[in-house]
């Protein structure tokens, strides 16, 4: 599976994603400049974390207008796999590839810590290797990850089973005190209708080696590889 990791000005998880996919999972990785308009030959496009354009104005607001995003939109429409992590999730929402918005954390503070996520859906391309209900331990690192969607959009997300991850306790309860940022319905990650575009606030690429504290993030990245290998090209 050929992965393109998009680099916007101010992105910083690009190398981490490259490390996880390339060094740990041994997949070929290209870094894709934000001015690029062509994503030919790629199977997975990752929009990594960071502070694109400093997160000035709103997270992802300026990045969403870069040339590469037009290409990403077309790529997603053709069924290509797109994973937006943290800032990448915010950019996907600004680009309207995913619904809702991410507000300032309820604490008004940046939070970097390990959290637990419950896998709600194993039918997204990024969770085919997971069981529904399975609990993953993955770090977050954001100041604006407080998921918001208006009531009808939220209801639609739930009805269409597009909530992929929810913050939960260690034993899988989506309790309020397991919610690190105030997200509605404890939402940590959602997909599009087709399941090929996923946005999530936690950083799976930081959870790919036991040395760094855990490797549950591998399940998400490996799911993408497996989902892709099952899709006839």
């Amino acid at each position: 599976m050929r992965t393109g990791v998009v680099v916007f000005p101010g992105t910083w998880s690009d190398r981490d994603c490259g490390h996880a996919l390339g060094d740990v999972l041994d997949q070929p990785v290209d870094y894709v400049d934000y001015r690029e308009q062509n994503l030919k030959g790629l199977d997975l496009v990752v929009l990594p974390g960071g502070f694109s354009y400093g997160d000035y104005l709103r997270c992802g607001a300026i990045a969403r207008f870069t040339p590469v995003m037009e290409a990403v939109t077309a790529f997603a429409a053709q069924g290509g796999l797109v994973l937006g992590i943290c800032n990448g999730f915010q950019i996907l929402q600004e680009a309207r590839l995913l619904p809702g918005a991410l507000l300032k954390n309820a604490s008004c503070e940046f939070r970097c810590e390990w959290v637990h996520l419950r896998v709600e859906q194993s039918n997204s391309a990024f969770t085919v290797d997971c069981r529904p209900g399975q609990v993953l331990r993955i770090p977050i690192s954001h100041g604006e990850g407080n998921f918001f969607a208006d009531p009808s959009a939220l209801e639609r997300l739930e009805q269409e089973s597009r909530v992929v991850f929810r913050y939960c306790t260690q034993d899988g309860q989506s309790a309020p005190d397991a919610n690190p940022n105030g997200s509605l319905h404890n939402i940590a990650g959602i997909s599009n209708v087709r399941g090929n575009v996923l946005g999530m606030m936690p950083h799976p690429e930081r959870a790919c080696e036991a040395l760094l504290g855990g490797d549950d993030g591998l399940l998400i990245l490996q799911s993408a590889i497996h989902a892709w290998s099952r899709v006839p090209a």
Partner: protein, 85 residues
């Protein structure tokens, strides 16, 4: 040169954690009459556009496309005669 003020605020249905934090900060300082604080952005845009109507239209367009996110925010525009703040 024309100047436009753009105010961007969170829609009333959207929680405003920052407003809440500021309110508790004000309470802690003894301003206990404060019942609510809503926080937003203030942008002062200067354009090189002599035509007032065109300038306004352009700022509208900027707000719609970039300055505000309609999923969560409202905006208001004031064209200034003189200098702005």
């Amino acid at each position: 040169m024309r100047k436009a003020e753009v105010f961007v605020t969170l829609k009333p249905v959207v929680n405003d954690p920052q407003g809440l934090t500021i309110r508790s900060g004000l309470h802690a300082l003894g301003f206990d009459k404060v019942t609510d604080v809503r926080s937003g952005k203030y942008l002062l845009v200067t354009l090189d556009e002599p035509d007032a109507a065109k300038a306004r239209q352009q700022v509208e367009e900027m707000a719609r496309q970039l300055l505000a996110n309609e999923v969560i925010e409202d905006y208001r525009i004031t064209m200034l005669q003189g200098g702005g703040l």
